[in-house]
Symmetry: D2
Subunit: 320 residues, 4 copies
């Protein structure tokens, strides 16, 4: 076959990633405060000064993994799921690798089939939008090739380093765990923060502790994924106003489900991701920090930079 023919099909097939039909549902959009074409949103707020300041929060030398252990069997937002296999390539039935390698090496490898939005996860700016439009006037139809996001992929996000702050909302409400659908408004956060001596600053990573995952994930996994306490639409707006780099919680979706009466379910994701370029951190292991009364810490997240991925399994590190 001539190169002409081969290339002609290649062109047909590749076209899907280049051309764009007029969008049926383009929404109004405002370009990001970080500039037209910006893809990293509030990560722009990470400055050398803030990184240095964050490092100074390490006073006791303690560390904490903010990612819980991800059990392949744990529930997730439908229809997400996962399978994992640990295998021993070329060592079937005790086969010795000596003939291959000259010595009797043994090794395990692993293969996973998984939706990336499972357990502790980072929502990139290409995850969720409104009326066809994502962060910074990036149209979903234009940026979302099946082989990977062409813009706003998880790989574009620089290390998220900064001052982490924790607000213990369960403590504020005087409970071990908040309940599914229980909303968190700005006034609640404000009061809790004041009580707990937490001040929000630009460039922070803000975590909320509700007690939900500690209380339900093991004991009633279907309840865990079937609802959650969390931010009201107004609560999300309130937090976004502080210009954090990221907002997270110890729940699978950060927002109240079912939503507060009158709210749009999951609309806080639009407030954070699309409107403000603020990253979302889900299923954060905030309980141990709450228990120890740790409200301020150095936060470091380096997510695996899988090209074009939308979300990523993560394990940010808190240090104080």
């Amino acid at each position: 076959m001539s190169n002409f023919l081969r290339n002609s099909l290649a062109a047909i097939l590749a076209a899907g990633t280049m051309a764009l039909a007029a969008p049926a549902q383009a929404a109004d959009c405002n370009h990001s405060a970080y500039g037209e074409g910006d893809e990293i949103g509030a990560a722009n707020l990470i400055t050398p000064e803030r990184v240095i300041a964050a490092s100074k929060l390490v006073k006791e030398g303690k560390t904490h993994p903010l990612g819980i252990v991800i059990d392949p069997d744990m529930p997730a937002f439908p229809p997400r799921g996962m399978m994992l296999q640990v295998i021993q390539p070329n060592q079937q039935f005790g086969r010795d690798l000596t003939p291959d390698l000259g010595w009797d090496m043994v090794y395990n490898d692993d293969v996973a089939q998984l939706w990336l939005g499972i357990g502790p996860q980072l929502d990139g700016l290409g995850h969720l939008g409104h009326a066809g439009m994502f962060y910074n006037c990036h149209e979903g139809a234009e940026i979302s090739a099946v082989t990977g996001l062409k813009k706003l992929g998880i790989h574009t996000i620089p290390p998220l380093v900064g001052r982490g702050v924790l607000v213990d909302m369960a403590k504020h409400f005087g409970v071990e765990t908040m309940t599914a659908g229980q909303p968190i408004d700005g006034a609640d956060i404000e009061a809790a923060a004041k009580d707990q001596g937490v001040e929000f600053r630009e460039g922070d990573i803000i975590l909320l502790h509700t007690g939900w995952t500690d209380a339900t994930l093991e004991s009633d996994p279907q309840a865990w994924v079937g609802g959650e306490p969390g931010l009201s639409n107004e609560g999300a707006e309130y937090l976004a106003g502080f210009k954090p780099v990221a907002v997270g919680a110890d729940t699978w979706g950060v927002e109240a489900v079912p939503p507060k009466e009158g709210d749009k379910v999951f609309y806080g994701h639009v407030t954070f991701l699309k409107e403000n370029g603020i990253f979302i951190l889900e299923t954060m292991n905030a309980g141990p920090l709450a228990e120890q009364g740790v409200n301020e810490f150095m936060f470091v997240l380096g997510q695996a930079r899988l090209k074009g991925a939308v979300q990523m399994l993560i394990n940010p590190v808190a240090m104080w």
Copy 2:
């Protein structure tokens, strides 16, 4: 069916994870210096003092992602491979989510099928051993269930935080990139470290820069994965002697391939993982540090804690 019957099959099936036949190939083993039963090896060396000391290395406020971008098409140690799909659940053919959610939300999700030992990766202590035996007298046959390692899983590893040091071996040899199979001996490291003002301390994370990935991954991916410069068996012993938490390089396997004459290929993995509980960091993006002459930095790695996984895609963060 009676519970008796159901349980009897459950017992049959589960037995594989409990009973153990006499191993055909049990090797001699020495229990770890960190104690019988220990699963985290050199991560025991991470102390509050060292975490604090590491945090003080953040002087300029700079950060660097040590994980390169993982292209689903990049080569890997055979037969490892990966596929990724970005999809729009329930939004097929522009279907509007308003009837489901009450507003016109749009979102992307992603599904991956992948071997976890691809690109920038952390080798857990259950990855590689010798003669059937892994770190701390853990027998491969006993710890390696198909559904996940029962011991030494990647999820057991605490945040790896410490003083990172970089030795630029390419600079030492006066080249842009070392060549496949070019060995790095202890004397080479010693000389390079001395020249570059690098001192090794217990609890460090030690990275070597060879130039290999920067020089070949894009231009000749098959060459990249077909060989690599790296540690000789003796070089691995030399580094292990400093009691680092982890050793890494900008190559897919840290060691020279083909191996130095007289060496056992990949045997440094035994020295690090099995003999000393030292973690291995592969395909680290060390080039930018080498270019900027950054030899000392705060190193933070929180790997996604997938239960029972052997390896993990990672992106440690260097800060200085």
Copy 3:
């Protein structure tokens, strides 16, 4: 959590499979001749009489697998791909199953990650449509849940049994193999069929042999998938006129790629699937039949009935 809350989320999540927004791009559609609501199209033409007649074509007692061997590494329409692992559960490093099972059983299992439209495949009626609309006025937005087609899934198709006929188009054109983009018009088929003594009847399974896969798949796999000889738009109409149950060829897409001048690429799929409910059989191993001059045979296809799947790897059996 109350059942109310749990159910409320369940309702939100499930709604995606029940509600339907007004389609943006609904095309005109004609209900199928087989009745409103019909999902199996031309499979309705399979009658007891025709099954009996087909069985009488088995005269020599010969059988032939129409599915070629599917190599996990074979190319496919982008971005389709596949990985396969053969593994030995619970037998890691030669572990003996006797403690589990009471005797020393050994076994292999296998795991695959694959796009179903690879190699020899059956296109179901939910695979391809026009302007948002599939066979029998089924709207894509309505029938295509991410967890599986709600209508027209591959599992709905009854055994495809009937009279198979083969037309050797390569022979007609006097070549070993036709070339990529070389079109097959109705007149070509008519002439070839006449020369070769082939008569088309309602309910047939019609296969075309072009020589393409035999000539290129092994020797130049990228050429193989980069183009193909095949039906022109008119040629597809011509064949559909005979009311076959299925049409297939020894190419990955049945139609000419690049298309005949003036043709719409892949539009024959609309003619077959959407307009006529005729199934498509791709990458059929027609060469051995052509070589032996077998033009008429009993055709039997039982595709694995994966619920909601769109396509399926197949291996129909020809018998004569």
Copy 4:
């Protein structure tokens, strides 16, 4: 890098598929009656005469799919599982393909992650053996590469065509469904066959109906997979004595689980696969045949020929 170096790693890596260490557990073995080196076992019994004879069993023109519908959520022998996604490549958020293809084509594709031993399945001769040894003295360590079986792969099996016979064991025992662990001995089969007018002949495909799957799969899926009625070890020997091509049942494993007292669980698989090269057909949809009293039929199975696969999802066709 020189070709020498590249090839040296290739050799290291490929060696795993060529060399073989002395097997630790080699069992005694008897070469197959079909000849040393034979890979297709009882498929050798399929002769033109038998194919012709089978075709003559098609008297009423009826067809029946022997594969049940495979729900991705159905249970399977642990840890087997499956996920399926139906997606719309390059049509994200209603994106129109016209710019790519010149017209407004729409299409669905599908991706699956699955263990191949799920639901209605064919066990190839490389699936199960004894003491390291499989059919015809093929050693597991030698034939079982991680990328696919090197011998006895599912792709080597020719179309399984022959006379199918059904014995209704539930009817014999006077029940709708037999119970988990209820054994079927040779005497039971003999009596049932006599009552039901079934005669066994060399080259047959023999199916047993127990009622198990019809009775439990939907109503209590965990019970379904947690046990099953089926052949005793002696019952398997009895059937093997008739030299069938394949033996199947309407259960996930053909044999009684828990096994008959004194039996080895699953040992019938050794009798069929390893000792006699007889294929096993699991989870066959035998109920409708039993209901209609169909005891003899033409059986045609063309399994998708995935290279090196161990098992395959199937849907054999019964015709009478």
